[in-house]
């Protein structure tokens, strides 16, 4: 469990979820919490609905590939509260063998395409996503190009649309 911090948002999160918050930092003024993946939807719903936090806007979601580290992947959520005018970054680490996480579409419907993009680019699988397929690349593309072990110069033949 992470210790107390100077940040109200992070303290609220630690208070409520205790062990599910693995670590926190406020580097460069960005409040960040690394949380357990099993409770991501619950944590996001709390962040959205708690009257002190009110993170009603999910601004961004992306993956990061820390090749060589374990766990290898990270999913990063950037949230903003219109009412409180504050931000928070939530991160979840995923193992290479099982890069799956629950979809947060039930909390913020706007995360749909962001999750598809993270799937497309990193191969992170979002459970319960209604339409998890490639978004920027075409169906039939092999691999996930933003993974660090995907060669930059690799070429693939483009294929026509699926029938």
């Amino acid at each position: 469990m992470a210790g107390q911090t100077d940040s109200m948002v992070l303290n609220r999160l630690i208070e409520k979820f205790g062990d599910a918050v693995i670590s926190t930092h406020s580097g460069f003024g960005d409040e960040t919490a690394l949380v357990r993946r099993e409770r991501i939807v619950e944590i996001c719903a709390f962040l959205r609905d708690d009257p002190d936090l009110l993170f009603d806007m999910a601004m961004d979601l992306t993956g990061v590939d820390y090749l060589g580290e374990t766990p290898r992947f990270e999913v990063v959520y950037h949230l903003y509260s219109l009412a409180k005018k504050h931000r928070v970054r939530i991160k979840v680490r995923l193992h290479e063998e099982d890069p799956t996480i629950d979809s947060v579409i039930p909390v913020w419907v706007g995360m749909d395409w962001f999750e598809r993009e993270a799937y497309d680019m990193y191969g992170i699988v979002f459970r319960n996503h209604p339409n998890l397929k490639r978004i920027l690349l075409y169906e039939g593309f092999v691999g996930h190009p933003l993974r660090k072990d995907y060669p930059k110069a690799k070429r693939q033949p483009t294929v026509g649309p699926e029938e």
Partner: protein
């Protein structure tokens, strides 16, 4: 007739025993203004379902950035929203500066505000102009294209040396200072070109019954829905949410200027037009205040870790030459860490999430393009509406494929 349209809207199902028509729009279509594609399922002229598709302009911005130095990324950012490239430059360098803990000079901040607001004006001009062309009102397009070209020709080109791909900002400052006479020219163009053009288009459209009836109610969205879908910028403000990063999480020197944030009520095409028109006037207000108070002094910070040494020194001094060489070959050294930095671009929140491992280049860059959630919201805006309104709505949310596909 209205009753029939009502039943179609509420049900989302066919009201006659017939097969829906599948209509493909794009990727190469005059009204998409870029390579976007829609597959619309139609009942008569009503859209039952709309499936957007994109990625035709994907050019691996994020992958390329991971293999470039911090400074080499700046030209890539031009290609994101190529209608207001300078704003992407500013957003990117602000993110890197946040990571380095750099505080840029006062003059640099003012110049960045000036170029951002000029970009916002020309971006809105393109948006409204092309939106109106799609609806058959060609005159407005010309009325807005001329001032846009004047801004490019007399302000942005003399300043940056290029028209669309400016790459004008640098980490810790700017490429160079304003050229001589720029301030006067900028004031002159705002007063004698931009404002009259806004007044002209305003006179042509704002009370024009044909325009109002065509756009009112086309592609509406409620504030609640817009927030849940991650809308930002003029599209969110048109729905009645006064969210503007320049006010809410102020950056550069925006807190020193007096300006208003216009909002709409219905979140439809008409409101989006109204919000953009007012934002252009407010941008002119900001520009005029910034020109009045533009401070003197250097545009770059005095720190040789981030700023290239003076050219004269490079030719005459071995330390400066070595520094120049290392700067170009290895890139500047940015501390390890991660930041998310957001600015209010013309279309909404432009965010950069940057991870550094302390090398000469980024470990990861993720751009949060404002268009991405907007384009995602297209089915919500258009389903149940008429197919002809798709074109009106698409133009008014201002999708720029450069930043959508990256």
């Amino acid at each position: 007739m209205t009753e029939l349209a009502g039943t179609r809207k509420s049900g989302g199902k066919l009201d006659m025993q017939s097969e829906p028509v599948i209509l493909n729009i794009g990727p190469s279509h005059p009204a998409t203004h870029a390579t976007l594609r829609f597959v619309a399922e139609l009942d008569g002229e009503t859209i039952l379902t709309l499936t957007p598709e994109f990625g035709y302009l994907h050019r691996c911005f994020e992958k390329e950035s991971e293999n470039a130095t911090w400074t080499q990324v700046i030209p890539y950012t031009d290609r994101l929203n190529y209608v207001s490239a300078l704003m992407n430059n500013v957003g990117y360098v602000m993110a890197v500066e946040k990571l380095c803990g750099i505080e840029v000079t006062e003059r640099c901040k003012y110049i960045r505000v000036l170029i951002c607001e000029l970009s916002r004006i020309i971006d809105h001009m393109v948006c409204i102009g092309t939106n109106m062309v799609d609806l058959g009102a060609l005159t407005n397009f010309w009325y807005f294209w001329k001032p846009r070209e004047e801004v490019y020709m007399h302000l942005i080109e003399p300043l940056t040396g290029t028209r669309l791909t400016n790459q004008y900002t640098r980490i810790g400052g700017l490429q160079w200072d304003l050229p001589e006479g720029w301030v006067e020219k900028c004031r002159d163009i705002c007063r004698n070109v931009v404002l009259p053009a806004i007044a002209d288009v305003n006179a042509l459209l704002t009370k024009n019954r044909i325009f109002i009836e065509r756009t009112m109610g086309a592609g509406p969205i409620t504030a609640r829905e817009a927030i849940a879908r991650g809308f930002t910028g003029p599209c969110l403000r048109a729905a009645g949410v006064p969210f503007d990063l320049r006010k809410d999480q102020t950056y550069l020197v925006y807190d020193r200027f007096d300006f208003d944030v216009p909002i709409g009520g219905n979140g439809d095409t008409c409101d989006r037009y109204m919000v953009r028109m007012e934002e252009m006037r407010q941008s002119v207000r900001i520009i005029e205040q910034a020109l009045d108070r533009l401070p003197g002094g250097p545009v770059n910070i005095d720190d040789t870790r981030y700023i290239l040494p003076d050219k004269q020194l490079v030719y005459t001094n071995i330390e400066a030459l070595m520094q120049h060489f290392k700067f170009i070959m290895e890139g500047i050294k940015v501390p390890a860490g991660e930041v998310y930095s957001a600015t209010e671009a013309a279309n909404g929140e432009l965010g950069y999430y940057i991870v550094s491992k302390g090398g000469g280049g980024p470990y990861k860059i993720k751009v949060r393009p404002p268009c991405f959630p907007l384009f995602q919201g297209m089915p919500h805006l258009c389903e149940g509406q008429m197919i002809a309104d798709l074109v009106a709505v698409l133009g008014s949310v201002n999708i720029i494929a450069g930043e959508l596909d990256r």
